[in-house]
Symmetry: C2
Subunit: 507 residues, 2 copies
């Protein structure tokens, strides 16, 4: 590893440079770590590996708090090494997912804006080491984050000690795009003085007592590229329907061509939706989101997006090269914030965001399951979807209407797990169309959800359920004995489709 002491501009800190192994050796059994990193961006890339290596010859457990999911297979390695006590607030790794669903460690799935409050108010275990990736440490002592901020500020402030990984592969040009704002203690804080996505309200980097910096490690490794897949036929249709809805809002006088600040969850569907905006008539758009994916940079290039606020930049390999080698084009159009600010209810409601997030399944009344496959198995986590959907001007959920070649309907009578209640779900979009549920009672929502969102192969079966439920009555009619039958059938017969199931039984 080539060290680059010039990145430690505060020269008093230069004698704290150590190897990753040395830094990892400070971590004791039962400790709690606060790691930088949000959706594969800006995570630390050396100390976690050194820690995992220690597990080959040592038994220990650590609690790992992060911004969101980590890249570089760190979550996979943590899970495989069996060194996790508690992990929060989000993950997206296949191995970690399997292990947490086995109960191998405790995963705490949190609204991404909530973690900081729980740390600040000493509800969660105190952090022993904050381990943070940085571009540099400035002469005046600011730790400059890299491609994400996540929870790094609150981790640094509340940790007993800090280890910094200066990643020389992260371009120094990143300095200046961060805006570190700390709201202060609940009950003693002022309003957050942000009224536009482009407002700068904080500091250029993380400022803490530098005596807490116990060690500095050099790394030289880019972030893991994002794994999003290109838009497919269905995601393009979802984008088209969503754009139709937004056009209708303009026609109805509720939005203008510049819409309202946009938020979109991580993933291929969300990226496809943003891609769809490229060919729309919308102009002068702004983004106020968690993660910026490739499509936002395409929209900036196309002159569609004027400004984008986020807490993380997660790009594909090609896009990463392109963006960072032309970073001066983007510098004045971007700001990175702590995730509690990107996801803060106060700001989301004030700005009146248009919020677009992905659902696993929706029920006929508009309740959404974002996290639990078959009601039990965690996929990734609720992430910021609750922060946004509850407080946004428009809480929009997108999903393909079927999965597994039609064996699963994403529109069901009764979701097997609820992350977002009907009160927070304004619009559901599938490749079939969109259902605008605002201001509607549960019974009014059913027809829209079935006829506009469900796949035609499941519509009759949904109507059969609803018609039977109507005979039972109630504000939200259900047949409790059959409410979960679709999921039970899938578990037993491999399909939710009644007709296939019957065929299967005859054989």
């Amino acid at each position: 590893m080539e060290n680059n002491y010039e990145r430690i501009q505060n020269t008093a800190l230069r004698d704290r440079v150590v190897s990753a192994e040395t830094a990892a050796s400070w971590i004791g059994n039962g400790m709690t770590l606060g790691l930088s990193g949000f959706t594969r961006a800006g995570d630390v890339k050396a100390v976690p590996f050194a820690l995992v290596n220690r597990a080959e010859s040592e038994d220990f457990k650590v609690n790992v708090y992060t911004g969101a999911s980590l890249g570089s297979d760190i979550d996979k390695l943590f899970a495989e090494a069996g060194i996790l006590g508690k992990r929060l607030p989000f993950q997206a790794d296949a191995t970690m997912r399997r292990k947490l669903n086995e109960g191998a460690f405790h995963f705490v799935d949190q609204h991404l804006s909530h973690t900081s409050e729980l740390i600040r108010s000493n509800v969660l275990d105190q952090i022993d080491f904050a381990i943070l990736e940085a571009v540099s440490i400035t002469e005046d002592g600011f730790i400059i984050p890299t491609t994400s901020i996540g929870n790094s500020l609150v981790f640094a402030q509340h940790a007993k000690e800090i280890i910094i990984e200066i990643n020389v592969a992260q371009p120094e040009s990143l300095e200046g795009i961060h805006d570190l704002f700390e709201p202060g203690e609940q009950g003693k804080r002022d309003p957050i003085p942000l009224t536009k996505p482009e407002d700068r309200i904080g500091a250029k980097g993380i400022q803490v007592d530098l005596n807490k910096v116990k060690g500095i490690v050099f790394t030289n490794q880019m972030d893991s590229p994002s794994t999003i897949v290109a838009p497919d036929e269905e995601t393009v249709m979802i984008a088209d329907h969503l754009i139709d809805f937004l056009k209708q809002e303009i026609e109805d006088g509720r939005l203008t061509k510049s819409l309202a600040p946009l938020q979109s969850g991580i993933g291929s569907v969300a990226n496809a939706v943003f891609h769809g905006l490229l060919n729309s008539d919308f102009t002068d758009l702004k983004v106020y989101s968690e993660v910026l994916q490739d499509a936002v940079f395409d929209l900036i290039d196309a002159g569609k997006v004027q400004f984008a606020s986020c807490c993380s930049i997660t790009l594909s390999e090609g896009k990463m090269d392109e963006v960072f080698s032309n970073f001066e084009n983007y510098r004045d159009k971007l700001v990175l914030r702590p995730q509690e600010i990107s996801n803060h209810p106060e700001i989301i409601r004030r700005l009146g965001l248009i919020s677009i997030n992905t659902a696993l399944e929706a029920d006929i009344y508009g309740n959404i399951n974002s996290t639990h496959v078959q009601g039990s198995k965690m996929m990734n986590g609720i992430g910021g979807s609750g922060d946004f959907a509850r407080n946004a001007r428009l809480g929009i959920f997108v999903t393909k209407s079927i999965a597994k070649g039609g064996k699963i309907s994403s529109i069901v009578p009764y979701v097997s797990h609820v992350d977002h209640t009907e009160h927070d779900v304004d619009v559901i979009v599938t490749e079939q169309g969109y259902a605008d549920l605002r201001g509607l009672a549960p019974r009014e929502r059913v027809e829209l959800v079935i006829e506009r969102c469900a796949h035609p192969m499941y519509r009759e079966q949904l109507w059969d359920y609803y018609n039977e439920a109507l005979t039972r009555g109630g504000h939200t009619p259900h047949v409790l004995e059959k409410a979960l039958s679709w999921h039970i059938n899938y578990a037993k017969e491999g399909t939710m489709l009644e007709s296939e199931k019957k065929v299967g039984m005859k054989v």
Copy 2:
């Protein structure tokens, strides 16, 4: 009806006085009405009755928006008269409940902070008539509300026309306790400049174009008294456990003796909890809530509560006399705000409220059903519980552990309807004890919920479910075929208790 023109200090408006019948005659079929009133306080008491009378000889429907539930049996009469198209955002009347569960009209159950945004952004049908109770109209043209504000400000601003009921039974001393703040359009608004419960940030009354005032009706009738029942053995135990929890928070250094601003939902359990504070060591308390019930005034009298902010004052008959005949004692300790300010996520999070709301049922993982009996039948509505629990420092839910003499367990394997997900539920309290769920993974929560909250008669049955669920695995283990069996058994056999059910089957 004795008119009192002195209450119309703006003399230009005096010629608009009409009878309730005349005012009601202006209301046409299909119109949308915005009525003052929040939990039986400050509702209009003449025009709705005149409108109901018209229904005897006329067929028509109206949509009725309010702050929350109405008193004076208005909701009952509306429901019986069959004149409702849509009703939102909350109700609490037995007849209305029965009718809406039959599907006789569309009830839209909303977060109480959300309705104003939907009106402001023209998502809901425009209001034809705002019909608002007032103490008076000042010389400078302010409409002074009475014992609640609810949604009256946004109704007045966005209605085509306004009808005012000046209720001479409401004491003029109420003038000066209101604080009318309008946040403005999303995307164009500033931070809400409120940092303490006692801050005054708005106007003394509702200010609108007085040309919109089409008629003024005089009334002379007090609010319907609240129907809360006195604390019983279980609610006292709930209060005691909750106080134990708060004491522990002080011991752990997370709270001081003045706690944090308190919010409590409407109802007997919440009132009992507040009553429990009378004999506690807590001092210099503040309240930032929706509704003030009797107990808050007892706490003010006892010197425990320094200040209380609300959007409605709902008292029992005796307390009403006592408070209003000694109102000067309370005037500088009270403020009434619009419900979007009392319930605003921005404020709730900033102040770090301690939020106490009632659950119908909770599951072993901490998900809460606040609204739907047996998953289908609406009780009252979600009210402000979602506004508060999601954003508070402490989201606390209280319930008795059993209902119907033990036939129903309030702690179940799987709630039949979800209003609050495990992410928003910090503490559950029953007469059995409290479960502090903060920072815990689902599997960690189970033991606390079963052992500390469930009734002993149901604990083994809950463990049986959970142990079987564990064999299926998952982040939140469930046995889908049995998840709703408790509710199904109750519907079929009249009990959730397995042992009773078997006995029943043998007979």
